[in-house]
């Protein structure tokens, strides 16, 4: 193991990582969406989406149509929610839309989720500005990788350890 080899290996690994990161962000620019790839975390959209499925999002400027599956965030909560739009009211006064969502596997609509935080009490609708993206495509099972990483942090360290080994020992 000599210094030049280690530095060359680190450079290659970093180029690969940054290349992937750049492509991801470029794709985000193309789709007008901060995070064009999300992993499904809950079972509220079964049987369409199961935990571990990957969703491809985009966020075109056109108005949201009823029945579209949208990923949105409630102000004050970090976790994005993937549910279907079941009510739509276009409001030219504000230039925006009032939307109601519901998970296919839930019996009730999402107003309970909208009003969960005290400063959101009485919130009956979400608007396109709360929406992070709309689902355009779907890839099953491959997101279980990220779910394993979050559920078992040991795997994360093992992966980092593996990358370290490659950097220092590869010839």
């Amino acid at each position: 193991m000599n210094l030049r080899q280690v530095l060359t290996n680190s450079l290659n690994v970093l180029m690969m990582l940054f290349g992937v990161f750049m492509s991801y962000k470029a794709w985000g620019l193309y789709t007008n969406c901060e995070s064009p790839l999300v992993v499904v975390l809950s079972e509220s959209m079964e049987p369409a989406f199961a935990r571990g499925d990957i969703l491809f999002l985009s966020n075109p400027k056109k108005p949201i149509d009823i029945g579209e599956i949208c990923v949105f965030k409630i102000p004050g909560r970090d976790i994005p929610i993937v549910h279907r739009v079941i009510d739509r009211h276009d409001s030219p006064k504000t230039g925006s839309q009032l939307l109601l969502t519901k998970g296919d596997n839930n019996n009730v609509d999402d107003r309970g989720i909208y009003q969960e935080l005290y400063h959101n009490r009485g919130k009956m609708w979400i608007e396109p500005k709360d929406i992070v993206g709309r689902v355009q495509g779907f890839l099953p099972y491959l997101g279980m990788f990220t779910i394993f990483m979050t559920d078992y942090p040991l795997l994360k360290y093992a992966l980092l350890g593996g990358v370290g080994l490659v950097v220092f020992l590869y010839e």
Binding site: A48, G67, D87, H89, S91, L98, Q136, F138
Partner: protein, 181 residues
Amino acid sequence: MNSLQNRANAVMAFSISAIFCLLGAIAFSALIIPSNPSGAVALDSIKVVTGRYDKNWVDYKTRNNEFANTIMRIDADLSSLFHWNTKQLFVYAVAEYSTPTHPKNQIVLWDTIIKRKSAAVISKRGLNNKYSLIDVNKKWTDVNANVSLHWNIVPYVGFMTYGHSKASEGYAFPLPSGIQT
């Protein structure tokens, strides 16, 4: 060249590329399959009641919300939408109308999930709307709504596609007839 590591690497790289090509072929081929789905929704009766509470209404502050209770009939033949990439069909009946304050409104009256081709012919009578039918302004006066059947094909892998039937003629919502709750 022939060490175990190199062989494992080559096999993994090739199989992963082949799998992704296959998934891409499935996803893109599903876009060009011809289909002729048909569907129609009709409202047999509309009753408007005023009240504070309804099926899944959560805002109890107003006493005089106007809720519409409808009885629908739905006929559809969506079996041609089932192909090798169809995981399920999400079918929903939509009422569309416009009011002076909001030019375009769409509300889902009823929905169902169809998982097999044999269940894709729908012929239902006497259906009540599954969800509370209430406008943003909480009044149904002077509203003329048409109903149509929409569907969403959820694929095994690939693109989500949507479709809908022709809209029915408009139904005029009657004045509220009595207090419900």
